[in-house]
């Protein structure tokens, strides 16, 4: 561990709070995937043609599709893994 890690940390934490979804050295696979899924889901909602495409495939109306996609953002990759003591 270098000294830098401790000194840089203070501003890093601030930056992380500011830029949601930014990774760091200790990002777990679950966090990474969850972030990626949330990004994807919000991108689907943010591009109306893509949302229309999905709603046609799914046989739902666009408003329902948008709603379900947004709801999925709560926990897109299932329950977080239990913390293990290292």
């Amino acid at each position: 561990m270098s000294e830098l890690r401790y000194t840089a940390n203070t501003s890093l934490e601030q930056l992380h709070a500011r830029y949601t979804g930014t990774g760091h050295a200790d990002t777990t696979k679950y966090e990474l995937l969850t972030n990626q899924h949330r990004d994807t889901l919000s991108s689907i909602v943010g591009h109306p043609p893509l949302l229309a495409y999905l709603s046609i495939a799914d046989g739902e109306c666009q408003a329902r599709e948008r709603f379900e996609v947004l709801e999925r953002m709560l926990q897109p990759c299932g329950v977080p893994p239990a913390k293990t003591d290292e």
């Binding site: 709070a17 830029y19 949601t20 979804g21 969850t34 949330r38 990004d39 919000s42 991108s43 909602v45 943010g46 591009h47 109306p48 043609p49 893509l50 229309a52 495409y53 709603s55 046609i56 495939a57 799914d58 046989g59 739902e60 109306c61 666009q62 408003a63 329902r64 709603f67 947004l70 709801e71 953002m73 709560l74 926990q75 329950v79 977080p80 893994p81 239990a82 913390k83």
Partner: protein, 1216 residues
Amino acid sequence: MHLLNLTLQPATAVSNAVVGSFSGKGQEILVVHGATRLEILKLNPSTGQLDSICTSEAFGTVRNVAAFRLAGMTKDYILLSSDSGRLSIVELVISPTPHFESLYQEVYGKSGSRRTVPGQFLAVDPKGRSVMYGAVEKSKLVYILNRNSEGKLFPSSPLEAHKNHTIMTNLVGVDTGYDNPMFAALEIDYGEADRDPSGEAMQTTEKYLTFYELDLGLNHVVRKWSEPTDRRANLLVQVPGGQNANTDRFDGPSGVLVCTEDHIIWKHMDADAHRVPIPRRRNPLAQRGETSRGLIIVAAVTHKIRGAFFFLLQSEDGDLYKVTIEHEGEDVRAMRIKYFDTVPVAMSLCILKSGYLFVASEFGDQHLYQFQSLADDDDEQEWSSTDYKNNGDTEGPLPYAFFSPRPLQNMLAVDNVSSLDPILDAQVVNLLGNASDTPQIYAACGRGPRSTFRSLKHGLDVNVLVSSGLPGVPNAVWTLKLNEEDEYDSYIVLSFPNGTLVLSIGETIEEVSDTGFLSSSPTLAVQQLAHAGLLQVHPYGLRHIRAADRVDEWAAPPGTTIVSATTNPRQVVIALSTAELVYFELDDEGSLSEYGEKKSLPGNATCVSIADLPEGRMRTPFLAVGCDNQTVHVISLEPDSTLDTLSLQALTAPPSDICLAEIFDTSIDKNRATMFLTIGLLNGVLLRTVVDPVDGSLSDTRLRFLGAKPPRIVRSNVHGSPAVMAFSSRTWLLYTYQDLLQTQPLIYDTLEYACNLSASMCPDGLIGISGNTLRIFTIPKLGEKLKQDSTPLTYTPRKIVGYPYAPIFYTIEADHRTYGPKAIERIVSEKKAAGDKVDTSLLELPFEEFGRPRAGAGHWASLVRVIDPLTNDTVQTLELDEDEAAFSAAVCYFERMGGEPTLVVGTGVKTTFVPRSCKEGWIRVYAIRDAGRTLEFMHKTRTDDVPLALAAFQGYLLAGVGKSLRLYEMGKKALLRKCENTGFPTGVATINVIGARIIVGDLQESTFFCVYRSLPTRQLLIFADDGQPRWLTSVVNVDYDTVCAADKFGNIFINRLEERVSEKVDDDPTGAGILHEKGFLMGAAHKTDLVAHYNVGSVVTSLNKVSVAPGGRDVVVYTTVSGAVGALIPFISNDDVEFMTTLEMHIRSLNTSLVGRDHLAYRGYYAPVKSVVDGDLCESFNLLPYPQQQAIAADLDRNVGEVLKKLEQLRTGSVF
């Protein structure tokens, strides 16, 4: 390779619509098409139709729109949120021509539709004081909308209202009157759920209704109030509120309606909630033990009338509910809900004050309805919150409320805006044979029961009123008014080779003989001359019929005849066979006086033309003459220079006809109509040049090939504005639409001649001759580039396949979450057998309007249909088994079938998408009989996954089943699997065959180049792939080594295989070399190179390589899910490439996008643009102010006219 992207038909899908008074005069509807194009629609009260006033491409993804009005103003501004990371405010400016003007663009975040960059939600304070931009997660920005000292709009710097770990579902402005502005949001916090491994927190996470208050005094935003609400809340609706300044009465209780699954809740800070159930249809197919899903509200609109208000809410079934709130001051007494009517499911609903409802349906045509009543006192059941305990605000759901849907009762459908979206598959072929010189587009459009199969032809639709036979073959037809002030025409004059026939228009059309016209010779021209005179020009002279008993005659000099004549109400010019021109003008006494001298010409005149009399003037200044020595002369008619030649133009062929007309075109002159000279040449080419209004010089010549016949040209009028018609093998119309000159063919029989007809039965008609028939017709809608004919389909079309030997198409249709007729029958009979009462009335309503009863995931209804695209008829339909859905189809040629075409359909049973699974897959084989018109089921073969792609290959069938590509041979009872390759990463989505080469598109991993080798064993070998991941939707071969493909994110790209690799593979007969080559980058040994890349902005659903213009080169035609049709055109010369790229660069730097999106970033959304020029952007050169046009043109070393000409040439040379 360099390509030019041009849109042939812009997107029609509506992603948003708002109503407002954007022009400041009356109400308009702003519609966002396909998330990129803004259009203003205005109701035309006389026709009851929606007219498009102005459209503009945004070159960015528009995510949300709102209208707002600053205090004390009479017009609404347009507020846009987009993927540009900017707040954009746009104004509609009406004069001189309607257009959008960007007022304000303020950067607040990164570009792109990102999770934490505001723009997904947009809420405006109803008093226009502030606006909130919300992101899907965390960020919210509030702007205060002010005016600066000059009265210009001036938004403040943004105030933040961020909250981490918060996902927003909806945002709305709260009506607080003139109190501090408030915004209400539905929020969910994922912080807890992310930390709790037991999953309990996720279950107990609540959704909050939060009110944010903007304190105008302190200039900051506070989270005023937050309270948990229903977890499944999806939509907020503003409720009127605030005190009326004059009467002190409250306009409403304020607060919001929270729409959740099955319930609607009225909520406000510190007030008791009211809750009512959303009435639902009784599902006759609901089975015991089946849990039914809640019903959500998808669209809502609030309407205020004379101090009262009501809401119309629409459920996902399309049912509209009327919700009313009874209140005393700010206290709600009761909330009521009742069923109103059923309309197609909408993206947005707009109510116009004049009593119309605009339904911007999410797929397919948009509709306009007129209110007949507001259902104030009908016998429809009403549910009130007071019927329930504690006004319905209790734990747990309220008991279900049921209603029966019925045909429209309170509204009347008045207009229908045709829309292609979504286009799910399309083929571009010419099925009309010799009757058409261009291919047609056959598209499978729509979703669910409102799906259609449409054939699109380039040209304007014609509505035929009369077609009647004539005694001979006339060569011209005119209509005449008897008097200048007459509203309608009285005579139809027909000129035959040996005589003239005059018909009078009255109750019936009949021949008259006492008109004073010479009937024994043909006629060259007729004209109604000032006040009450009539003029006939025949080969031997002029007859001026001034009254029934007074005829002035002028005879041609002996030995000469008149070859051509042109007239307007005050001027007449005739050309004599001695190459002389004679000019007449009406004098003060109303008689025609000949100009002193004749004008002699260098060659025989073949055609002459003068323009119509300009409004309020005595004469038109120019005469145009076409001579047989291949020249055109412009001659002055002004008093001081009468019959002086002003300018001359040499032609490439003798002129067949000529026409001068004044037509408005804003790209040439923004203030007044431009004088156009249209020249038809004997070789079928039409020239269009601009006549300088001062010196008569000719400039800006445009060429267009019309058809094989030498064109005749006529000045006419369509929809009240001047136009020019040219008659060749097709009839072409030059007219102004949205202030630009358009040249379009009519889709109608070949016409010899036509002119305007104004009669009481058709005030804006045209009368024409075709062979020996007289035709009366109208052009119902201008500006539509493609004429559509549609055939209704039953379910969502998935793919269309053509029969190779006759004009027949096979469509496969499938609807998810739907029961097919067999399933319905089974369920109904099972329920009846179990003794349940089944109300089948819902199943008897037309599905197109009411939809089908909803089923759970994994239930499918599907069929195969045979369509005759020429008559728009369904020839045969074959329903598939229960829950079996067709996904792919191909026409194959099997040896066992004697090489005859056979239809193969790939299906899946109980397919679900989340998770991706199916019970089993089938490949069905149908024999084709009866010249393609009949399908006969032969056998089906089971597969372990859904076959998503099928293709014919050298007498075999290639099927993409899951991750494998398989080769099947036709067997007696089933298909026989010969070999397979299971090396595809995600799933085979497309298969294209070119010669012995197979190009396989993967669902996520782009294209794979494969070959088939039968020695020593049968093998399908992958020898090249793409280095980039691509989620493919469609692939087409451009040539043997090149593919053009499109992905789910709207990219179109072209990949090319190295020629060396291509040759090496073809020279390897056993495939041993390929098999033992070392893989590269964890894939095949060779990689394709990216040649071109471009983002279209919408999901591309089909690609076709075809030549679209007569004699044009092959282009790639694409269709999108938003209903757009476009083309990628290869450039021929490097000069063109350089010219267009420089032009594009210049226009790009002007940053014309209304939403402020950087054009290069938009077209390079996911990967940088490569070798493609955006023709749509370049064509916006037309709309730039003249100084800017001049500056750009100067940089290109050309003048403005040349740039415009080049742009037009590039379009008309390859497409339309």
